[in-house]
């Protein structure tokens, strides 16, 4: 309902100046300018004070910031599946974490607020030999001409995920952002995370596997492989709290892997595949950006 809803003045109505002028003072009421007042281009940018939609924005460089890729950082793959995921925060070339800290944030996300996080990072997955052949995930497939050949479904991937610190400005308690798995769930002898908790996670293929010239449902050869070159990875996350009041002091991006698809009786997982891990299976990264927006949802 529009705030201006008084009826027209009719012949015979008692009138005085105060009553009439009061009609035009209605605009100063709070919280009542609604969509019926603002249609047909009623407002332009100059009419709006700062913070009508966006309360604050924070942005920082990620990684080395070297777009020529002469300076890169390297993360090596995990070789111990029975331990929790080993996460590497994205750092600059001097080994300091590149992240949004309390000076950028200290945002209390309230009712009708949303926290939007976006990031991008230039990455380069590398490997040596055919590490996937050591994985327990190899599948026996009928081979053209007789026998079988083991093929990998090519699901191995790195994970780049978002963490925040909602404890204090000291930034000593980074945890996965709301609803995100920490990849510490045990499945058989493996560690990983359910796909239900992977909204904060971006996956990057560790390698690209195919098999050429299969025929009539049978493989003609083992996996053929292509390396993944420099790769533009990115991710996003939205947090519109049902229980408002969380204060965000820091946001960072962490890299871990190598993971492989798996399943339990009821859920799908990404599990650390230590059998393919090693110093030759690594992820280089150079530069990117991390941006957070604190906005009103309405």
């Amino acid at each position: 309902m529009s705030r201006i809803k008084r009826g027209r003045i009719k012949p015979g109505d008692p009138l005085d100046a105060t009553d009439l002028n009061n009609r035009f003072s209605d605009y100063t009421q709070g919280g009542t300018l609604n969509q019926e007042n603002t249609r047909d281009g009623a407002f332009d940018t100059p009419h709006l004070t700062d913070g009508i939609i966006t309360k604050d924005i924070a942005k920082t460089y990620l990684g080395t910031g070297d777009w020529t890729r002469n300076t890169v950082n390297t993360v090596t793959s995990q070789t111990a599946a029975s331990t929790a995921a080993v996460k590497f925060p994205v750092e600059n070339s001097g080994g300091t974490e590149t992240r949004l800290d309390a000076s950028d944030l200290t945002w209390t996300i309230g009712a009708n607020d949303v926290l939007r996080i976006y990031w991008d990072l230039s990455v380069h997955p590398q490997y040596s030999g055919t590490p996937w052949t050591a994985s327990p995930s190899m599948l026996p497939i009928k081979k053209q001409g007789g026998g079988t050949v083991n093929l990998s479904v090519g699901g191995h991937c790195w994970i780049i995920s978002l963490e925040w610190d909602i404890t204090s400005a000291a930034l000593s308690n980074f945890v996965p952002v709301f609803g995100g798995t920490d990849f510490t769930t045990t499945l058989s002898t493996w560690k990983g995370g359910s796909l239900l908790g992977c909204r904060h996670a971006t996956v990057v293929p560790a390698w690209r596997l195919s098999t050429i010239n299969s025929v009539d449902g049978k493989a003609n050869s083992a996996n053929t492989a292509d390396k993944t070159g420099w790769y533009g990875s990115s991710g996003s996350f939205y947090y519109a709290p049902t229980t408002p009041g969380i204060t965000v002091y820091g946001i960072r991006v962490v890299i871990h892997g190598i993971y492989h698809p798996a399943q339990s009786a009821t859920e799908n997982y990404l599990l650390v595949d230590d059998a393919v891990g090693g110093s030759s299976q690594k992820l280089d990264y150079s530069g990117g950006f991390l941006t957070a927006l604190w906005q009103r949802t309405q």
Partner: protein
């Protein structure tokens, strides 16, 4: 802030008649029912003066709902072996468009809609080029599209081969209404030579998706 009279201001002890007032109202009718931009001072519109949803509305879908939030639930073939997802196999899925999740954009007041969708997927890349489908080959992709009120707002050929993440976004002018946004996927159909099962009979995973979330912003006019 107060609105200014444009014809003549009423003062104490003025002689008044109804038409003189109604004429002023009529001459500024748009600013009575909707504020007139030419009469609004700079920085007149503050957060405190706005009712929720007056200028914009953001719709956030962190989870897709259903028994497996954020995850593709159209096809979950349980005949895949342990180191694979329960997901779409060619035994149960033929390659048609599927709605991964929906979001109703309630109280959309008419204007511009920005909408984006992010997530991750797996695509089996074994058989993009097989003996009997070598020319042209049959590359597998995880096609993506967003429909709002039945209109395609954004689409993508989508990732191919292995696990990858995606994000697509688009804009659309829309009339007022509670519009429904559909987030749909489609995997490339099988070719004649495709490998669809293991030697032991287990089915081979082909397509899956997880970690899906969407955000839409309505800017009303």
């Amino acid at each position: 802030m107060s609105r200014k009279w444009t014809t003549y201001e009423q003062r104490d002890k003025n002689l008044l008649d109804a038409d003189s007032i109604t004429e002023e109202f009529r001459s500024n009718q748009s600013s009575i029912t909707t504020l007139d931009r030419t009469q609004m001072p700079v920085n007149a519109v503050t957060e405190a003066r706005l009712a929720p949803g007056a200028l914009h509305h953001m719709y956030v879908t962190e989870l897709s709902g259903g028994p497996n939030p954020g995850e593709q639930g159209n096809y979950r073939d349980g005949s895949t072996t342990a180191w694979q997802f329960k997901c779409a196999t060619y035994q149960v899925y033929g390659g048609s468009w599927q709605t991964l999740f929906t979001k109703t954009l309630t109280d959309f007041r008419g204007g511009n809609l920005f909408i984006e969708w992010g997530g991750s997927c797996y695509v089996n890349g074994w058989c993009h080029q097989t003996l009997n489908a070598a020319y042209p080959p049959n590359p597998k992709h995880f096609n993506l599209r967003i429909l709002v009120a039945g209109v395609e707002v954004a689409n993508s050929w989508g990732p191919a081969i292995g696990c990858q993440s995606y994000r697509l976004f688009g804009t659309q002018q829309l009339p007022p209404g509670n519009h429904e946004a559909l987030f749909q996927w489609r995997g490339t159909a099988s070719g004649p030579d495709d490998i669809v099962k293991e030697d032991g009979g287990g089915r081979v995973m082909q397509f899956h998706s997880w970690g899906n979330k969407a955000l839409a912003i309505g800017r009303f006019r």
